[in-house]
Each structure stands twice: as C-alpha cells, then as structure tokens.
C-alpha cells in the first residue's frame, strides 16, 4: 500500500470533486460532472485540462445523436494519486 501523499493538483477547489466522481465510474460525461461540481463550462474545462496535463484524467470525444459528447476517465495514475491523497486527508483529519 502506498504512503499517504497530499496532492495539490487534486486538492484544488473543483478538482477534488471531479476526481471523487470519476473514481466511482468507468467514465462520466463532462456535463454531468460539471453540473455535480456546480461550475461553469470554462471553469470545468480549465480543471479538466490541468488534470489531463498531470496525467490523471483522459478525455475522449464521441459523436452521439448529432452532437459531440465529452467523456472523462480517471487514469490508473489518477486513481492511485487520488487514493493516496484521500489517505493523507484521512490521516490529517485523524480518522481511521
């Protein structure tokens, strides 16, 4: 098991929730995550770009029903980073 590590890329406002949602699914649609996190399209795009640059999120665009849908997926690196970040939060919170 990896040691708890605080990850500033994940911990930033918005990105923590995006990663939390993506850990529960294989993929989630951009609009669904944006609505759940309650941010604008542009803010959401910025977060996704930062997570993508860190290698934590993979983005794929699929044409469906005459429009393009963007799907987000947490990479294995992203899952590992989120897990160790949550472990660190749990340690800092004195839980478990």
């Amino acid at each position: 098991m990896r040691a708890p590590v605080f990850d500033p890329v994940i911990h930033a406002p918005g990105r923590l929730q995006i990663c939390a949602i993506l850990t529960e699914v294989d993929q989630a649609e951009f609009a669904m995550v944006r609505d759940a996190v309650e941010v604008s399209d542009s803010v959401m795009s910025k977060h996704v770009k930062q997570l993508e640059e860190a290698g934590y999120v993979a983005v794929s665009k699929v044409a469906a029903g005459g429009r393009q849908r963007t799907w987000l997926k947490l990479t294995s690196q992203g899952r590992a980073a989120f897990k160790t970040h949550v472990a660190e939060l749990t340690r800092l919170a004195g839980i478990g």
């Binding site: 911990h11 930033a12 406002p13 918005g14 923590l16 929730q17 995006i18 939390a20 949602i21 850990t23 529960e24 699914v25 294989d26 993929q27 989630a28 649609e29 609009a31 669904m32 995550v33 609505d35 759940a36 996190v37 309650e38 941010v39 469906a64 029903g65 849908r69 799907w71 949550v86 660190e88 939060l89 749990t90 800092l92 919170a93 839980i95």
Partner: protein, 150 residues
C-alpha cells in the same frame, strides 16, 4: 465547489457529497424499472432462444447481446455515467454471479434443444427473466450500499 482553505474533514465531506451525484444516477428512479424490465426480457430471450434450432438460437443470443449493448449505451447517454458493472468489489461478485447463472441456463437450454426436451424452454425463459430481474436489482442495491460505506 470546495474552499481552497478547506480542512481535511471538509475535503472528505466534499468528496462524499460529490459521489452522491453518481449514486443518484445509478438510483435513477425514473428509468431503473424500465431498464430492469428490458434487460430481463433480453436475458430471457437470449437464454430461452438457445433451445431453438439454428439460426434462431444464434439470432436470440446475438440479438440479446446487441440489445443489451444498446440498452447500456442509452442508459449511459441519459445519466452521463458509464459503469461496467464489475466494480466495486462486492457489486462485481453480483455481476459475475448473474453472468454465471445466465450462462448455466443457456447451457441447459442448449442441452434440452439437443435432446428434444422443448417443454423446458418456457420455464427456463421465466427463470432467466426472474434471475436477471433479481440480479439487476441486487447489483444496484449492493453498488449503492458499497459506495455509501466508503
């Protein structure tokens, strides 16, 4: 959205709240009964059809598989989430268990077809429908319980 200066306790609470959005999509109160009904019907056709001679048995199994793929895609497009069914851990066992039951029933149907025991077809179809219904509902229940406890 999270506060940049949030405490670890607040951050953990934000994670829990965000995950609720996924749980809500899976709960899908409007679509879950319709999904289960269509899924169970497709499973029943795929199982019961194996008692029929070729090419009808192949049509039933391939039609069932294509129907399930389209059903899954429609659900994913509507809810905005894709969950393969083989995670998390406990829900995975329900998915594998249901798959094993349906494959076993298909093998019984194939055997019955070979031995001209065609009367078995109807009860097998009913059993497959019920198994798929119960399995689908159980998976949802286990998934929701497992993700709630994390």
């Amino acid at each position: 959205m999270t506060d940049p200066d949030q405490s670890p306790v607040e951050a953990l609470e934000a994670i829990r709240k965000s995950r609720e959005a996924v749980r809500e999509a899976v709960r899908d109160p409007k679509g879950s009964t319709r999904y289960t009904l269509i899924y169970s019907t497709l499973a029943a056709v795929a199982v019961g059809g194996q008692i029929l001679p070729a090419p009808f048995n192949i049509l039933c199994s391939s039609g069932g598989a294509i129907g399930m793929a389209l059903l899954y895609k429609g659900w994913a497009d509507r809810t905005g989430v894709q969950i393969s069914g083989v995670s998390p851990k406990k829900a995975r066992w329900v998915a594998w268990g249901l798959g094993a039951v349906l494959v076993s029933l298909m093998l019984v149907a194939i055997w019955a077809g070979w031995h001209d025991q065609l009367w078995i077809g109807l009860p097998l179809t009913v059993v497959a429908f019920v198994a798929a219904w119960v399995g689908s509902r159980l998976w949802t229940k286990v998934f929701l319980a497992e993700t709630r406890d994390r």
